[in-house]
């Protein structure tokens, strides 16, 4: 039957033209900053300090991790309190390469990293094989978090572990990994982790041009991940994911097997988080088991909640806002930071269930009022941590 009229919602582009403009302008602005650091002399008013570049680069890594967490939490309703583990594993995988790239310039002038010399090890353990190859290290960055997430997720989702139980297990997982990595004999530098990197792919790691390149790569990954996530959540697959979040049993009744949908987004999220960690380590210059502490993973959840879960811009805004606040507070009033973080979380939970993005939407909608029918805000407004 040929129809002349369809009730299908009008086809829209990936973003509205205004959103495209904003995306391009923001990306161009962010991309200009490291160039202003490298090419503009330090006494110029337009010069951007190396400190600012390092800081924004770090925040962008956090933003990628927050985006990854939001895909599983905000869109699929799976609250992970262990995403810091995937972040740290990606960081360690890249860190192994960076440690070997130090060569003989360590304190003991050995082929082995200083911590291995200190342990009186004579050779690299087997799992350090090939890590002097950068490409192999990049493979590990993807595979280690990916395989761990797959195995863990397969059994957890198949057993229908949901809600708070799932969250607690992810928390335990990252805690167990932290204890493992704290051991010196695990072979990852114990509580000091990896640091004192000298170069990456032959470029001196502290040189402004190297830092600018790392920053630009991070920016590209962030923008790419944002667009990729947008493609995903607007697809039918994305609609199934939000249906998992809202009414999982109903979805099964309609004929979808939740296992593979959850597993796909869970593994994808872990890999993205690992990539964020791999970008983080050379820019910050250190990775240690502290990254796996439960508090770090919980902090990630707070970034997402503050920015607005169930939106894609929310986690990015949240990562910048909370970490901006953290940077300011830990330098001016270091002792109040944790109280402030707790306060932020309580206030957001009570008054901004949809985060800063929800607040922004409410303000702009009020101003626009009845001028045009607004698109429904599909965002979770249920209390944090609940599912279905």
């Amino acid at each position: 039957m040929a129809r002349t009229h369809s009730y299908a919602p009008p086809r829209r582009g990936l973003f509205t033209s205004r959103a495209w403009t904003a995306l391009v302008v923001l990306t161009a602005f962010a991309a200009a900053l490291p160039l202003l650091n490298v090419f503009v002399p330090a006494d110029s008013a337009l010069h951007v300090s190396a400190y600012a570049i390092a800081l924004i680069g770090k925040f962008m890594c956090y933003a990628i991790a927050a985006l990854a967490l939001d895909l599983v939490w905000g869109y699929t309703g799976i609250l992970s309190l262990g995403h810091g583990l995937f972040f740290a594993l990606g960081g360690y995988a890249h860190g192994m390469y960076l440690m070997r790239a130090i060569g003989r310039e360590g304190a003991y002038q050995s082929d082995l990293p200083d911590f291995m010399v200190f342990l009186d090890w004579k050779a690299y353990p087997w799992y350090w094989s090939f890590t002097d190859q950068w490409l192999y290290a990049m493979l590990l960055v993807v595979l280690v978090p990916g395989v761990l997430a797959f195995v863990f997720g397969f059994f957890a989702f198949r057993s229908r572990i949901k809600g708070v139980y799932f969250s607690i297990i992810t928390q335990a997982l990252t805690f167990a990994a932290m204890l493992l990595f704290f051991r010196n004999n695990t072979g990852f530098g114990g509580n000091n982790g990896f640091t004192d990197f000298k170069r990456v792919l032959g470029f001196p790691i502290t040189a402004p041009s190297t830092r600018a390149a790392l920053y630009l790569i991070t920016l590209a990954v962030l923008v790419g991940a944002f667009i990729g996530a947008r493609l995903l959540v607007r697809s039918k697959f994305g609609r199934v994911l939000t249906a998992v979040r809202d009414a999982e049993s109903r979805l099964m009744f309609v004929g979808y097997d939740q296992l593979w949908f959850k597993l796909f987004v869970w593994v994808g999220s872990a890999v993205l988080c690992g990539i964020a960690g791999a970008l983080y380590v050379p820019q910050v210059g250190i990775i240690n088991p502290g990254e796996m502490s439960p508090a770090n993973s919980i902090e990630m959840v707070i970034w997402v909640a503050t920015g607005g879960r169930g939106t894609l811009i929310g986690p990015i805004v949240g990562a910048f806002a909370v970490n901006g606040l953290k940077t300011w507070l830990t330098t001016t009033f270091p002792e109040v930071w944790l109280y402030a973080l707790g306060l932020v979380f309580v206030l957001v939970t009570l008054f901004l269930p949809q985060g800063l993005v929800g607040l922004f939407n409410r303000l702009t909608q009020k101003r626009r009022s009845a001028a045009e029918p607004s698109a429904p805000v599909v965002a979770a407004s249920r209390p944090i941590g609940t599912q279905s």
């Binding site: 039918k236 249906a243 004929g255 429904p376 599909v378």
Partner: protein, 284 residues
């Protein structure tokens, strides 16, 4: 403790044979995978279910023809809901047989397997995906390859659009296509859920009190909807509301249940004048 409630939480991976993977067949009596060569889609024979000594169903025997719209009425406790539970695999009978078509033994299948075999059940309380639009609800429900990998690549074809549009008109929600389902009225949600069930192309549709809680206008509209579906789908409607049953029964069969077995069966006007029926149910 009786073990009649054989509820299984896990849908079996093997499921039913992939007999339902034919081309979409909206709007016709779909019979692939179910052998209905003898004209009946459902046979219940001598079904007995006891809960701690109470016989909810007592040697119940009933069959439903392909394309039939069968109304089931009966006083509270007559066993109407238990019968639906047996058909959908939620409750296991102590004795008796339940066949879907000629070959599918419902007493041996789990709930998801039965759903997959082609029996759709509409529960009393509407459950739709509230954050999704009406259109998206129908899209998600539509019969198609629902595995993750296929879903990842899924594109809405023109044919699929037509089917959703047809369904929107049938359930009269075309003006609400882009609204979130959570904003619909109670009656509209019920229609949407019926629409979602129909999108899955079940061969037998079980409707448990579809007009409970509806306004009079909504009830009348639901009767209209079911009358439009008559002959295209095999349906079993359990209902208390006599006016509603009058509106949809027409010349079709009505079954009166009482104390777990069939008390009377026949056209509505015959049943209404049956002395035993008048005594236990209609007599006031």
């Amino acid at each position: 403790m009786s073990d009649v409630i054989g509820f299984q939480a896990h849908p079996d991976a093997e499921g039913r044979p992939a007999a339902r993977d034919g081309e979409p067949g909206y709007g016709r009596v779909a019979t692939e995978g179910v052998d209905t060569s003898h004209g009946a889609i459902l046979y219940l024979d001598g079904i007995t279910v006891s809960f701690d000594g109470f016989r909810a169903l007592n040697a119940l025997t009933l069959d439903i023809d392909v394309g039939e719209l069968r109304c089931i009425i009966g006083p509270n406790g007559a066993g109407k809901t238990t019968m639906m539970d047996v058909i959908t695999g939620k409750t296991r009978p102590d004795s008796g047989t339940a066949f879907f078509g000629q070959t599918i033994d419902l007493t041996k299948l789990s709930e998801p397997q039965i759903a997959h075999a082609g029996i759709g059940r509409k529960f009393q309380r509407p459950t739709v995906f509230e954050n999704h639009s009406v259109y998206e609800n129908l899209e998600l429900a539509m019969k198609t390859d629902k595995r993750a990998r296929a879903t990842l690549r899924a594109k809405l074809t023109g044919e699929a659009r037509d089917r959703i549009d047809d369904m929107l008109e049938l359930i009269r929600l075309q003006d609400s296509a882009v609204r979130p389902a959570g904003l619909l009225s109670h009656g509209q949600k019920q229609w949407l859920e019926i629409g979602m069930l129909l999108m899955q192309e079940p061969q037998l549709l079980l409707l448990d009190e579809p007009v409970a809680g509806m306004t009079d206008a909504e009830t009348a509209r639901t009767a209209e909807l079911l009358n439009e579906l008559r002959g295209k789908h095999s349906m079993m409607v359990v209902e208390h509301d006599m006016d509603f049953v009058n509106a949809i029964a027409g010349e079709g069969k009505v079954t009166v249940l009482h104390e777990g077995s069939v008390l009377a069966e026949g056209k509505m006007r015959d049943v209404q004048t049956d002395d035993r029926v008048v005594e236990v149910y209609l007599g006031r």
